[in-house]
């Protein structure tokens, strides 16, 4: 298949993002659904990806090639680098015959990385979820609204978050995050 360049609506403004905000390049994103109480399913996913799927809400499990974000009691977003097709294929092989859903959703969302001393304030401005360190830590993720658009927020470091936004909202969400970050950087 011919290479299609990765261009999201946010790319138009990403060059003017302040320090501490950037749009990441394309990542492999595969949506996986299945029954986490079924050990056949859990073991097959482990064989295919090395991942122990998190069954606790809003947790991230890290593996070698990819990580798994809890989305709902039977749904995870697998995120990694490389080829989505090969991850989908290895999952399909390991899970063949089981009652599951495996979908490549790599082009669904783009990812903003926000980092530095003001990232918590930017999130607090953008959402009702408590992102204070006493309530939220690296390895946690949530699906919520960021400035009214649906997003997945994952904390990847003490002062670093990844915000997954639907491509069609990415220019709006990117502009919002940039504006918020500038606001706090300049007033502090």
């Amino acid at each position: 298949m011919a290479e299609t360049p990765w261009i999201t609506p946010a790319a138009a403004i990403a060059e003017s993002f302040p320090d501490g905000l950037k749009e990441l390049g394309p990542r492999v994103q595969v949506n996986l659904r299945g029954d986490v109480t079924d050990s056949t399913f859990v073991n097959a996913v482990k064989t295919a990806t090395g991942l122990d799927l998190p069954d606790a809400p809003n947790k991230v499990a890290a593996g070698k090639e990819c990580k798994a974000l809890w989305l709902s009691p039977d749904e995870w977003l697998l995120v990694g680098e490389g080829e989505a097709a090969s991850l989908v294929q290895s999952l399909e092989e390991a899970l063949s015959g089981q009652y599951v859903a495996i979908n490549d959703v790599s082009a669904n969302r783009t990812i903003f990385e926000i980092s530095g001393p003001y990232c918590h304030q930017v999130l607090m401005k953008s959402s009702e979820v408590d992102f204070h360190p006493r309530a939220f830590a690296p390895g946690n993720c949530v699906q919520t609204l960021i400035a009214k658009s649906q997003a997945i927020v994952e904390q990847v470091g003490r002062e670093m978050f990844h915000i997954y936004v639907r491509n069609s909202f990415s220019r709006y969400a990117g502009a919002w995050l940039a504006e918020a970050l500038v606001e706090y950087s300049e007033t502090s």
Partner: protein, 99 residues
């Protein structure tokens, strides 16, 4: 604004949810056998409760699960949430009573 307790995700802001109306309305076993008035009864008629009310909510911007909430329609006091198929929490004695 309400803070609603999703049985999976925990307390979240009302804007993440969609309202689904009265809970525990069983679909008729054999809809084809119903008279029009009985079908209309099932589809449209709801209790207009003043006080504690069992209602469905969808965590549409979160885990996308339906669940039930007991909420006071007068005071907005929320007694608790429970998953589909679970037993509702005990109701406070009188309308408007504190928990």
């Amino acid at each position: 604004m309400l803070n609603i307790d999703c049985p999976w995700c925990g307390k979240r802001h009302e804007t993440e949810f969609h309202y689904g109306g009265e809970a525990h309305i069983a679909r008729p076993e054999d809809p084809a056998k119903l008279e029009d008035t009985e079908w209309a009864e099932f589809l449209f008629m709801r209790t207009n409760t003043k006080g504690y009310f069992a209602e469905r909510w969808l965590h549409s911007h979160g885990c996308r699960r339906w669940f039930n909430v007991i909420r006071n329609t007068v005071t907005h006091d929320i007694v608790g949430s429970y998953k589909m198929g679970e037993k509702p929490p005990k109701l406070p004695k009188r309308t408007g009573d504190a928990k």
